[in-house]
Structure formats: structure tokens, C-alpha cells
């Protein structure tokens, strides 16, 4: 019996089956099937307009799919299941004239949860001191944090965040990321849609790349086997550098940048070996940067392959 392919149904949070959303002239989501396991931070990655928000809209029942279906917690896709999910879609949506507290009170009334939970989530996102201020007086970062607080109400099993750092300043971005990592450490399943690759790389375990509504890649963030090693180099003597570097085993290609050389090696090549080889050939290195092996490169590679 192949245990690798065997997945306990209790461990599956969401399963979609051939989801399709056809708008008049465009297929926003095209035959999309994927599975999300419990406790995973799942990244939905793709350029703007690739169908990320439409996909999230469908699994949250605010967008009616043209065909296909999905199932939450192995049970169904009614509002009963949605009460176990905390989600923000396309930014924070609240009643402008309500205070933060009243907005959360309303959410807890809908979820049927206890009012006492509001204080906890407001403290978690560091907004408790502003709880009696109206939502419309909040800055964008605070609005985004309030949305996360709202999603955290009733301690949901799954958290869905759509571009949670969109429009935030660097401090705001750092705060939100820390918050997500903290939440993930409590064992919650998180689905994160983003077009920011380093965001997904920093917080996600698993990711799915969408392109024009199709899943073009699904994998673990740590899997790097398929990618090559790319190094950016410069030297006092660029001609020498170029002639020497071509002789290193594993060399694939090079590209001239403004003041540097971008060199591609096979993924088995150890960059320490490269450095040593250059040193032995008396090439004086003034700049040495490993730029490959990150998600961005993988991502671009995947997108290129699927043109």
C-alpha cells in the first residue's frame, strides 16, 4: 500500500474540483483543482489578474462559480462551514460610521460567538486603545489590522488573507507578516493570496502558482531541486573573470549586466567551490551575490515555461 498517496480526510481542510469561472469574454478561473491540508500556510501566487481573488471569492461563496465544486472540512460549502473560517477579501470591508468595537460586535453576532472574544483579537492586532474610534478615522494599516482582528474572531480553523500587505508602509508590512507567522505557529491553516513573491516565501509552506486562471505549479517553498544557481559577480578585471568563470564545472550561461556578470550554474554547483576556483585563478572579486534559489526566480521560470 502506498502511504504517500494516502491522505486522512480529517487532515484536508479544503478540496476544490475543477472550479471554473467564466466571465463574458474571459475565463478568470479555469478547471482549478487543489487540496489544502490542515496546518499548512498555503500561498496563492500569481500576477495581477491571474484569478487569485476570484478563486478565493468562489471558495468563500461570494462569487458563483460557473462549474466545478469545492468542499470545506470534508463536509460541504454552506454558511455553517464559513463560520469556521476567518477571511478578508480585497481589503477591509466595514461599516464606515461604526466604531471598531461595534464592527467586530456585528461580526461576532453573525458568527454567533461570544462578545468577550472581541477584546482578545483587538489586543492581538494592537488596536485595543482605538476600539471606540470610528472605522473611517483609521489609517489604511489600522484598517487592515482590524480586518485581521475580525478574521481572528471566534478562533477560526482557517484564515484566508487576500493581499494583506497591499498599500501598507514597510513597518505595516513587517507588522502584518509577523502577525501571520505568529498565527501560523499556533497551527492554524492559512491561505494567503499575494503577488509579492518574497511575502509568500517568507511565510508560506506550500504554494500554488496561478496564471490566467490555471494552476501552473504547485509545490513546497523549500523545494529547489528544479532550479539553477545564479550568481551575480564583479571584479577589478572583468575580462579575466569572464574567461575564468566559463571553466568552472557546472557553468551554464552568463549575462552582462551594467557593472556585473550574472552567471548561471547547474544546481549541484557549490558556490564555495566557485569562490575558491576564482581565488586560485587570481581573480579579485569585488561583488559576489547568490541571487538564485529564491522563489522569485522559480516563479519567473515557471511563468516563462508556461507562455
Amino acid at each position: 500500500m502506498n502511504f504517500k498517496g494516502f491522505v486522512n480526510m480529517n487532515e484536508i481542510v479544503l478540496q476544490t474540483n475543477k472550479l471554473t469561472k467564466q466571465y463574458k469574454n474571459i475565463k478568470a478561473v479555469d478547471n482549478l483543482s487543489f487540496t489544502i491540508k490542515k496546518g499548512v500556510v498555503f500561498g496563492l501566487l500569481g500576477p495581477n489578474g491571474s484569478g487569485k481573488t476570484t478563486t478565493l471569492g468562489i471558495i468563500l461563496s461570494v462569487i458563483n462559480q460557473t462549474s466545478g465544486d469545492f468542499i470545506w472540512f470534508g463536509k460541504g460549502n454552506s454558511n455553517i462551514q464559513r463560520k469556521r473560517i476567518g477571511a478578508i477579501l480585497e481589503g477591509p470591508h466595514f461599516y464606515e460610521n461604526f466604531t471598531a468595537y461595534k464592527n467586530l460586535k456585528l461580526v461576532s453576532m453573525i458568527k454567533g460567538s461570544d462578545e468577550s472574544d472581541i477584546e482578545r483579537v483587538l489586543k492581538e492586532v494592537n488596536l485595543f486603545h482605538r476600539k471606540d474610534d470610528k472605522f473611517k478615522t483609521y489609517s489604511l494599516g489600522m484598517k487592515q489590522r482590524l480586518a485581521i482582528a475580525s478574521a481572528l474572531l471566534t478562533n477560526p480553523d482557517v484564515l484566508i488573507l487576500d493581499e494583506p500587505t497591499n498599500g501598507l508602509d514597510p513597518q505595516g508590512i513587517a507588522d502584518i507578516r509577523e502577525l501571520i507567522i505568529n498565527i501560523a505557529s499556533t497551527g492554524k491553516t492559512i491561505i494567503l493570496a499575494s503577488h509579492l513573491l518574497d511575502e509568500v516565501e517568507k511565510v508560506c509552506d506550500e504554494y500554488l502558482v496561478l496564471k490566467e486562471g490555471n494552476a501552473v505549479y504547485q509545490g513546497m517553498v523549500e523545494e529547489k531541486s528544479s532550479s539553477n544557481l545564479i550568481i551575480e559577480l564583479s571584479s577589478l578585471n572583468m575580462e579575466l573573470l569572464e574567461s575564468v568563470i566559463k571553466n568552472i564545472s557546472g557553468f551554464i550561461s552568463l549575462k552582462h549586466n551594467k557593472n556585473t556578470l550574472e552567471v548561471k550554474f547547474s544546481n549541484e554547483t557549490d558556490f564555495k567551490y566557485i569562490a575558491q576556483f576564482l581565488f586560485e585563478n587570481k581573480v579579485v572579486i569585488t561583488h559576489f551575490l547568490v541571487i538564485k534559489n529564491n522563489l522569485e526566480a522559480q516563479f519567473l521560470e515557471i511563468l516563462e515555461k508556461n507562455v
Binding site: 462569487i63 477571511a87 477579501l89 461599516y95 453573525i110
Partner: protein, 269 residues
């Protein structure tokens, strides 16, 4: 049911427009008997022509038999304020995208619509009760006879009034949900009331000469629940009330609920 009503009521009672429009409406209700009484008194005391005095004496607004009909007829004018409450309450959900968030947070679309409908039921009942209390108080204070039994003798108009309000507010909910933008929805409603339907009525009644058809239009049909009572003072011949408007109302109640649900269900939020 109470959970949904509670949710909707929480939204309303924290909204300024709701209180402003509701207070305006209550003031309107209260002011009508007071002003009518003041007006009649002034005319009686003044040296108007004999003919004018006869008319005023004749139009016994507070005459117990006519009181409910007269009062509810004038009160129909205030319905537009309640219609605004209904339309803003639904269009705001679209402009703040809170309908979407409500669904994400765990309300089904059906529950969302039910919360609005329950509120309309509640608001219609509340307003009817208020009109009932004002009517009884007015009857006891101003009418000539003043016995309680006589005052409530024609209270069936309160029932028609409830049906009128309820149907009209469901119509407003349907328009608000369909149009989604509060300004456009309100403008459309006003335009429909004063332009579109009167023109259609004129065309079918006077030009095409199909008089009965106008009893089935959305607004005209329910207007017939409480026809103009003042005509009786001049022509002594009031079109007899038929049961048709009751059926027309019930038909539209079902239609509006059905169509609003259809639109909400099939729409991407």
C-alpha cells in the same frame, strides 16, 4: 428569526440616517392631526364666505366614521421616508461591500435577505401600531362623539395601511437591491412615483382606454387600498372598496421577495 432581526436592528440603530428619517416620520405622524385641527379651527373662526364654511363643516375630518380613512390616506404621504430607510439600508451594504463581508463571515444570502425582510415586517408593524395609537388619541380628543367603541369602529383601515406600508417597503428593498447605489435608487424611486407610473397610467387609461389595468400597477394597485376619502365630501359617491387591492398587494409581496432573492442569489458580491 430573532438573531437575524437583532443583527439588522444593530446595523440600523448605529446609523444616523435611520434615526433622522424615523424621527422625521414620527414628527410627520404627530403633526397631521394637530395641523388639521388648527386649520379647521382657524377657518371656522374666520370670516370666510358662507360657502367656504359649509365646506369645512362638511369635511368633518375627525368624524369618527371617516377618521381612520382620512388619517391613513394622509399618512401614506410619509411612506417615502420609510422607503428611504429601507433603500439606504440595502444600498449601504453594497457601497461598503459589507454584504460581501457578511456572507464571508457566515451569513447565507438567504439569511441576509431575511434579516432585511424581518426588519421591514417589524418596521411596518411598529408604524401601524403608532398610527393606531395616534388615531385613537385623535378620535378621543377631537371627534364629536368621543366614545371609544365609535372611534375604533372603522379601524380596518389600519390593516390596509399595514399592507400598504409593507408592500411599498418590499418594493423599495427590491429597487435598492437591484440598483445598489443609494443616490440612483432614491432618484429612480422618486422618478417612478411622479413620472413613470403616472404616465403609464395615463396612457393605458385615457389613450388605450383600458381602465381596469391601472389597478394592477405596482404603486397604483396598492394605492387603491386607501383611496382618496375626500372625494366623498364633494361627490357623495366614493368608489366602493373592493378586495382587488388586497390581492394585488399579496401578489406583489410574493413577487418582490422572490425577485429580490433571485437577484441576490445569482449575483457575484
Amino acid at each position: 428569526m430573532f438573531r437575524l432581526l437583532n443583527i439588522e436592528f444593530y446595523k440600523l440603530r448605529n446609523s444616523k440616517y435611520f434615526w433622522i428619517l424615523l424621527i422625521l416620520f414620527v414628527l410627520f405622524l404627530l403633526s397631521v392631526p394637530v395641523f388639521v385641527n388648527l386649520f379647521i379651527g382657524t377657518v371656522r373662526k374666520s370670516q370666510v364666505t358662507e360657502q367656504g364654511r359649509t365646506i369645512v363643516n362638511y369635511v368633518s375630518f375627525f368624524y369618527t366614521k371617516d377618521l381612520w380613512h382620512n388619517l391613513t390616506y394622509i399618512y401614506k404621504l410619509g411612506t417615502v421616508l420609510l422607503a428611504f430607510i429601507t433603500m439606504i439600508s440595502i444600498t449601504n451594504e453594497y457601497s461598503y461591500k459589507t454584504v460581501k463581508q457578511n456572507v464571508i463571515d457566515g451569513l447565507s444570502r438567504k439569511e441576509f435577505l431575511l434579516s432585511k425582510i424581518y426588519m421591514i415586517v417589524f418596521l411596518s408593524l411598529f408604524v401601524t401600531l403608532l398610527v393606531g395609537i395616534i388615531g385613537i388619541a385623535t378620535g378621543l380628543l377631537y371627534s364629536e362623539s368621543g366614545s371609544f367603541l365609535e372611534v375604533v369602529s372603522n379601524i380596518k383601515y389600519l390593516g390596509y395601511y399595514f399592507l400598504y406600508i409593507f408592500t411599498f417597503l418590499l418594493f423599495s428593498l427590491f429597487i435598492g437591491n437591484l440598483i445598489k447605489k443609494s443616490g440612483i435608487a432614491i432618484a429612480f424611486m422618486i422618478f417612478y412615483l411622479i413620472m413613470i407610473e403616472p404616465i403609464i397610467v395615463a396612457i393605458t387609461t385615457y389613450w388605450m382606454e383600458i381602465e381596469w389595468l391601472s389597478s394592477f400597477y405596482p404603486v397604483n394597485g396598492i394605492n387603491n387600498l386607501i383611496v382618496n376619502p375626500f372625494a366623498r365630501y364633494f361627490f357623495k359617491d366614493l368608489n366602493r372598496f373592493t378586495v382587488t387591492p388586497i390581492f394585488v398587494s399579496i401578489f406583489y409581496i410574493i413577487l418582490y421577495i422572490y425577485l429580490t432573492y433571485k437577484v441576490l442569489k445569482n449575483r457575484d458580491l
